[in-house]
Every structure is written in C-alpha cells, then in structure tokens.
C-alpha cells in the first residue's frame, strides 16, 4: 500500500513522467482500478485482525454490557492463550479436523483420479456422464447436509439399501453413534467434493501432450508404465493444487457437519469451525474466541505463505 501511494505522488509531482505519453495516466489509472479491492481487503483483513488482537487480550463478552472498545477494563493479558494451550476440547477438535482431512482428501483424490483416467479419451456418452458426475459439487453444501441427515436416519434409505444386501432389516442409528456419525459426515464430504478432484485432475490429464505417450506405446510400454512415468510426473503441479484446495476447504469444513450432527453426539463430529461457532454462539466468551481465531490465522498465514512461495518457485 505505502509504496503505491509514493509511486502515485512521484508521478504527479515530476513533470518528466507526464512527458512520456500515457505513463502517468496509466499509473494513476492502475491505482484507481485496484483501489476498491485494496480498500475492501483492508476493511475485512487489517482492521478486524487488529481488533481481534485487542479483544483476545481481554475477557470480554457481548453480555458484559460494555462496548468492545472498552474491553480493556477486562484486560487479562495472555491468559486466553494459556487457556487455549490447555483446552482439551480445542485440541480434540483440531485433531478431528486433521483426521477428517486425512480420510477425505486421499479418498477424493483416488476416486477423482480413477474417474479421470476413465474420462481422458472420448467415448459415446462422455459429455452427459461428465456433467452428471459434476452435479454433487454444485448442490449447496448446507442442502447436502439436510439431505444426508435424511439419508442416515435409522429408518432411512441407507439402512434400506443395507437391509436389501443383508437380507434382514438393518436399523443402525448412524447419527447418534459417535464413530458412525463421524463416518456419515465424512461420507457426505466425499460425496460432495470427489467431483471437484475429478474435474481438476481430468483437466490436468487432458493437457498432457499425446506425442510422448504415442512413442511409448510404439516402444511397447505398458499402460501402467506410461501412466507412471509420463502422465503422473507432468500432472505434479495440478495434483498439488487440487490436493491443496481440498486440504484448505476441509480445514474450514462446517456446513454439512453442523447440519447433520450439530457437532454431536457429544463432541464426536466437532471440527474446528464448529467448535469456534459453538463457543461464539453458546458460551459467548468472545475474548477467548478471538484468541483461538487469531492463533489459527497466524498458523495458516505462515503455512500458506510458505506453500505459495514454494509453489511459485517450483
């Protein structure tokens, strides 16, 4: 921001710039064009984060009857952060989010990759089947949550299908058993986002040039060998991007989990976003929430900055 303003002032101040046709005009136009976006970013990032730092050092709650800017009356220093380090519910939510990620992302990746292999060359019906596969990812995630809530009722269709294969009535109470509830929520995530993996991986696979593969075919290389030595290495960047997108989104996961189980039974499906939401809405200790949120923001910005840097240099 700062060096941009100096650029602009320099441009208006020096007559030499104006002598270059379009030079100063272009600079000023560039500034004006990016200004709204810059202001919005500052409005949503800089100011709230400063506010968050301040509130996180207090014990402020919206029920205290004092406005947030007078939260210093409830100053507790770094106590919230100390509490955070010893908060078993926070760490278990963190751990659960990582488990969800560790299951969802690989399954989505393998299913997506498998489907992409089937779709990479043309066959009758390809277009229609391709569009049909994409449908789940366009369903509103919250609506998907309500749908899966119905599917996993004990008298619902999932048990009906299982009954059909088992040959006897199956009445599993999916959403009230801690392990099964987590399984059910994971299934809903895999259902919704496998198409995204498929879409991105297929686009990457199609763009791998054909000539080398043809040459390998002539040399008698097997399909698996061609795939492993020619196709996969060329898809490296796109695989990293696809996996990164799902890791990021999985870390934020909220909608379908919260709607299906509300984080329960107990805290069995409580991911980090659900945990923060519950502390925000039910326990209303916003000073503490600010501390949690800030800790997550710091970790994420460091990790993402490193990742982006590495990806750019690659």
């Amino acid at each position: 921001m700062t060096d941009m303003t100096t650029n602009d002032m320099g441009a208006t101040a020096s007559p030499q710039d104006a002598a270059v046709p379009g030079g100063s005009e272009e600079k000023r136009l560039g500034l004006w064009l990016t200004l709204p976006a810059q202001l919005l970013v500052i409005f949503i990032a800089l100011f709230p984060i400063l506010m968050q730092v301040y509130i996180s050092l207090t014990d402020w709650s919206p029920l205290d009857g004092i406005p947030w800017y007078r939260a210093y009356e409830l100053w507790i220093g770094l106590l919230n952060y100390a509490d955070l380090a010893n908060d078993p519910r926070f760490w278990s939510a963190m751990w659960r989010t990582c488990i969800v990620m560790a299951i969802c992302v690989p399954v989505q990746f393998l299913l997506g990759l498998g489907l992409a292999i089937l779709f990479v060359d043309d066959f009758p019906g390809r277009r229609v089947l391709y569009s049909t596969i994409l449908v789940p990812m366009m369903v509103v995630p919250a609506v998907a949550g309500y749908m899966f809530f119905m599917l996993f009722q004990s008298g619902g269709p999932v048990n009906d299908i299982l009954s059909f294969f088992a040959g006897r009535p199956v009445t599993i109470a999916w959403l009230s058993d801690p392990d099964l509830a987590l399984f059910a929520t994971i299934v809903s995530d895999i259902w919704q986002w496998t198409p995204l993996m498929f879409l991105i991986l297929l686009a990457g696979m199609v763009s791998v040039p054909q000539d080398q593969q043809m040459a390998a075919v002539l040399l008698g290389a097997s399909w698996w060998r061609r795939f492993r030595t020619i196709v996969l290495p060329r898809m490296k960047t796109i695989i990293i991007i696809a996996v990164a997108i799902r890791v990021i989104e999985n870390f934020k996961v909220f909608d379908n989990f919260y709607i299906m189980t509300g984080g329960g039974p107990g805290v069995a499906t409580e991911t980090i976003s659900i945990y923060i939401y519950k502390v925000t809405q039910q326990e209303l200790i916003w000073g503490y929430v600010a501390a949690i949120a800030l800790a997550i923001l710091i970790v994420l910005s460091v990790v993402s900055a490193l990742a982006i840097k590495k990806l750019r240099s690659a």
């Binding site: 005009e25 976006a37 810059q38 949503i44 709230p48 060359d121 609506v143």
Partner: protein, 286 residues
C-alpha cells in the same frame, strides 16, 4: 487411442456404479420433495424410493398455502428467505465483480496492486469462522446485522478473490493489439477499458459472475452468524422447518432444498468449461 472391448465394458460399468451411488442423495431429495406427508417418515417395508402418490403439497406448504393436509401452518413462509438469498447473492456478486474485475485489469495491464494477489489468496485460505467476531462487531456497529445489504457486502468481499483471479487470467489471455489500436486513435485509457475491453470480455464476465454467484448462493455459515430473523437465507431458514411439535418436516425441507439446488446446478453446468479455471485460481485453463 484404441482401447479393447473389455476396457470399454469396464469403463461403463465403473462409471455407472459410481453414478448410481453418487446420485442417491439427489434422487432421494427429488423424490422426498414430491411425497405426501404419509410417506415422509415411512421406514422398513413401507419405505418408498419413489412417491406412490406424488403431490405438490410440500411446495404449496412452504409458500404458506393452507388447505394442504399438513399439521401446522408455518409461522413464516419460504418466500422471504428466497428473496434474501437472491438479493444477497446477486449484489454480493456485483460487488465482487466490480472490485475484482477492475483490480484484475489494473494488475494485468499496469502491474498495479502490490501485494493484492497474495492478500486475496490468503483471504481465501482463512476460515471465515476465524474473522467472524470482529466482523460481527463491525456489522452491528454499522447497523448491517440482519440486512440483505450487510450480507451482500461480506459476500462480495469473500468471493472477490475468485472474480479477481478469474478475470486476471482472462485479461492476460486477451490480445493487446485491439487496445493499442484504440490508444493510437487517441482514446483515453479509461475509454479503452470501458468501451473496448469490457464489451469484448462479456462472455468471460458472464461466466465469472455465474461462478461467483454460485459461491455466494452456497453460503451457510456467514448468514447463520449475520442474520437473525428478517433476512435469513434459504439454508438458515431450512432449519426452522422442524420443531418439537411437528418433528422433521422432511418433505418441506426437500422441496425447499430442491429450489435452492436447481439454480447452481444449471449455472454450474452452463459454465463447466470455466469451472476448472475458477476453482484453481486460474492456474489451469481447460
């Protein structure tokens, strides 16, 4: 490449198995939306996969039409939440597109913007839940809680990274010769942008806007935190379609779910060529 017959059989078998599983939730929702109340909760042998007596009662019910055989009338109908979702998503898309497109042009042509691209990626990486406390305080201070324009503002900011990156890749791809020709003719940079570049970009603008609209329309968490009653959006309102008295109003939920699901599915299929570009921040163009 020529494939063997057995591969073709395997291909169709695998794709159809996957589709059969993946379409179950969608089929169930469609079927439930047209089921009369007697079939909602049926289980075991009575469970029907397709409505035996299809009816539009569920749709009539959520729009408050009495005379259906449902137990209680709704306190509030689905009309207002649908309007809220439409207004917030549409104006949010407008904000994201105006700010994102102009910034993308500024960066693509004049290298302006400094750290904006990186800041926008980071904005996307942060879980919205992690900045919601200050946002809730700010929105309360500005009187934006429970208004459609308050929701539209935050939607616009949250989806701006997508409009920015999408439009940036489109501008990067656009040949500059036409713009240069107009500049030589004596047009100002502004006029070139408004009268030549933007009209040429109409298809790109349309698909980016649809993409951003789908994202805004899909939100649940932000509306859950920033709306309370008058301007709740469809997903938030759907939770009220159940109570201790009536139990789960499955059919009504499915009907509204179907209404909420149809626009993004149609739009998504319409822009499927641009989906990859949008989802990967322009890293991959199909």
């Amino acid at each position: 490449m020529q494939r063997s017959l057995s591969f073709e059989i395997f291909r169709y078998a695998a794709i159809f198995t996957f589709l059969a599983l993946s379409l179950i939730p969608t089929i169930w929702m469609i079927s439930m939306a047209f089921k009369p109340i007697a079939e909602w909760q049926a289980s075991g042998a009575d469970l029907t996969w397709w409505p035996e007596n299809p009816t539009l009662d569920n749709f009539r019910f959520i729009f408050g039409e009495s005379g259906s055989d449902l137990i209680v009338a709704l306190e509030r109908t689905a009309g207002r939440p649908i309007l809220a979702s439409l207004l917030a998503a549409t104006f949010g898309t407008l904000i994201a597109m105006v700010a994102g497109t102009s910034a993308a042009y500024g960066l693509s042509r004049f290298g302006a913007g400094g750290n904006l691209p990186l800041a926008l990626i980071q904005l996307r990486i942060f879980p919205p839940m992690a900045v919601m406390i200050p946002v809730m305080i700010m929105w309360a201070f500005l009187g934006l809680i429970d208004t459609w324009y308050g929701l539209a503002l935050i939607y616009g900011i949250v989806t701006m990274p997508f409009s920015f990156w999408l439009m940036k890749t489109f501008f990067d791809d656009m040949p500059r010769e036409i713009e240069d020709a107009a500049l030589v003719e004596g047009c100002s940079r502004w006029r070139v942008f408004l009268k030549i570049t933007l009209p040429m970009m109409r298809p790109a603008l349309a698909s980016s806007a649809l993409f951003v609209f789908i994202l805004n329309w899909s939100d649940y968490l932000i509306a859950l935190l920033l709306t309370t009653r008058d301007w709740v959006t469809i997903p938030v309102y759907m939770a009220s379609l159940s109570s201790s008295m009536t139990g789960q109003l499955y059919g009504a939920k499915a009907a509204l779910g179907l209404i909420a699901a149809v626009p993004p599915v149609i739009m998504g299929i319409a822009i499927q060529k641009q989906l990859v570009r949008g989802l990967t921040f322009g890293a991959l163009k199909e």
